[in-house]
Amino acid sequence: MPLTTSTILICAGGACISSGETSVKEALQREIKKYGLDEVVRIVETGCMGACSLGPIMVIYPEGVFYQKLTPQAAVKIVQEHLLKGRIVQEHLYKMPTGEVIPEAMDKLPFFAKQVKIATRNVGYIDPGNIEEYIARDGYFALTKALREMTPDQVVEEIKRSGLRGRGGAGFPTGLKWELTRKAKGDRKYVVCNADEGDPGAFMDRSVLEGDPHTVLEAMAIAGYAIGAQQGYIYVRAEYPLAIERLETAIAQAKEYGFLGQNILDSDFSFDIEIRIGAGAFVCGEETALIASIEGKRGQPRVKPPYPAQSGVWGCPTVINNVETFACVPPIIIKGAEWFRSIGTPNSPGTKVFALAGKITNTGLVEVPMGITLRELLYEIGGGSSTGKKIKAVQTGGPSGGCIPAEYFETPVDYESLQKLGAIMGSGGMIVMDEDDCMVDVAKFFLEFTVDESCGKCTPCREGTRQMLKILDKITSGEGTEEDLEELERLGNIIKDTSLCGLGQTAPNPVLSTLRYYRHEYEAHVKEKRCPALRCKALVRYVIDSSKCVGCTACARVCPVNAISGELRKVHSIDNDVCIRCGSCIEVCRFGAISKVSP
């Protein structure tokens, strides 16, 4: 029996848990115990490794073998074969589209190999529940360095020189924010971590919180030292129970080790962190709303200025940063601003974590240098379309962002370039759409979101978005006119200019950007009453191809409203006045005889 010591890293990120990580881990533990291997094999549950579509996944070191799509049975086999006999279990290795299997996928797959990890440097490599593992990877070294070797001004200066910009959406220079708060007058100051991550399609903050909670705590303490605060708050969404649990554990450990609390590392700096849990309101991610919510009020934004740097929590100067922004801080303190600037572009230094979602092969999280092109990101790393159909557009920045058509995929990804295209970086969600997605439907979808989430405080956002949604409803049900398109643009611009907070100011973006690039689709809806993507129910009909229909009656039996008539072994037909467009008949027809047409 080869008695090498092995470490199994098994991904316990949310996606892998949902695809069955727990039972795989339990099977591993049982089997390892059964063969008496518990002394030499260590199982570590990590945060998201990024390749969520392959889950549950694990990596066995020292060989670095990457196993994917695991089941409890697979776990048993891996213990018996891999651990006991040193034989790699082929069926659970990663397979390239060419059929080639790659055991050391973590090092060799383009998905992993092209990444540069700063914010997520530990996620997927350490046990987030164990502070020792964080320390072993230079954890709390940056805090130690800041406290022992740097003055608060030097810390601020280092962050300023690094060019780090806020990763929560707006891209505001972090060092400048710290400097303003440091200089603001006040006996008490606060550090707040914005972990309210609500942009649909973005889940990087979640992954950092779940996979490397200590990095956030360390960075917040550094920020506290830099600006002169003694108290920090992490505002987390209630929808992230796992993140909350891991943060609680991490805070307790950090206190025990003296990285939080009174006189940290024997300095005269004291700092504590408390968790505040959101309660399901998207607008609470906006900084002034978030502060109101921390104070126990309704989370509604207020007019800025004053900015939180002057008047934040309890009216005291407050630094508020996003999770990913904080996660970049410790490496900058350790390795220096020049190192950080050497990655990315001059105006957008460093890396950005993107969440790939929608119709893309490798859904999951990737961290790449700023300035990478969309094509590299979506094709080389993301693996291209998952449906076999052409990618039509990518939506960035969620409900505040816009759609970028495939023609522009050579664009480098940085704050300014995306903005020029009418989209935004946002928090880094990238939702890929293919030819089956209707751009009017997508725009409508986002507007439904904003209408739902508008806090109602100001009229343009509350009423204007409702008005726009009404028009989009009209267009998708085939009753739109050409004037409606102009009205959409007019309303959109008013809402942009007159809303109080970022939610309203950016809400029209998905509509305006699709109108800019896909006006022909809107026009098809209003002029020809046609939905080119065959998505809008009111504009499609279901038809049976008489040359393909064999009269098996399968469709007629499944139709919930008896819209299909025809005798056994005779051609069937659909009464579109009765049909509710449920799509069931297409699914059951084994002869491909039924299709959607528009008009």
Binding site: A15, A357, G358
Partner: protein, 162 residues
């Protein structure tokens, strides 16, 4: 009947833990909601107002602003279905339809047997395995109508056993 003393005790405990006195309302409401299963009886909200010495109106204001709080009893299993774009483009529409049909209820309703409440949620941060639902604190991803039906059947079996 609401056990006023138990609620008051909860609130007092939170008061002891928190550094700041003023910001405990949302925290208190979360704990009270957990205490009662998954809702906040109106009477309990009154106790909170008394204990924290804030006007009742402020408690209701907060209570009604946040979608996670409910003043109505909800089912034993709260099914939250993600209705955001990444889930939508990967088949979320069918998941919503299947849920409604299988449970026989619409959004924000509870089944007659008191087992299930169906709610909408925005992105759960699991778009990597979209479409996604959350049942109480558990996530289910990569859903198909078939899987959804199985999940509900399993929960029904579990729920009835108690």
């Amino acid at each position: 009947m609401v056990d006023r003393e138990a609620v008051a005790e909860l609130v007092r405990n939170i008061k002891k833990q928190a550094l700041e006195e003023r910001d405990m309302l949302i925290n208190a409401l979360h704990q009270i909601q957990n205490h009662f299963g998954n809702y906040i009886p109106v009477e309990a909200a009154k106790v909170v107002a008394e204990e924290l010495e804030v006007p009742e109106s402020k408690v209701y204001e907060v209570l009604t602003f946040y979608t996670m709080f409910s003043t109505k009893p909800r089912g034993k299993y709260i099914i939250r279905v993600c209705v955001n774009l990444p889930c939508h483009v990967t088949g979320g529409r069918q998941i919503v339809e299947t849920l409604k049909k299988t449970l026989g209820i619409d959004f924000d309703q509870t089944t007659k047997d008191g087992l299930f409440t169906l709610e909408r949620t925005s992105c759960l941060g699991l778009c990597g395995v979209a479409p996604v639902i959350m049942v109480n604190d558990e996530y289910y991803g990569d859903l198909t109508p078939k899987k959804v039906k199985e999940i509900i059947e399993n929960l029904r079996a579990r729920g009835d056993a108690r």
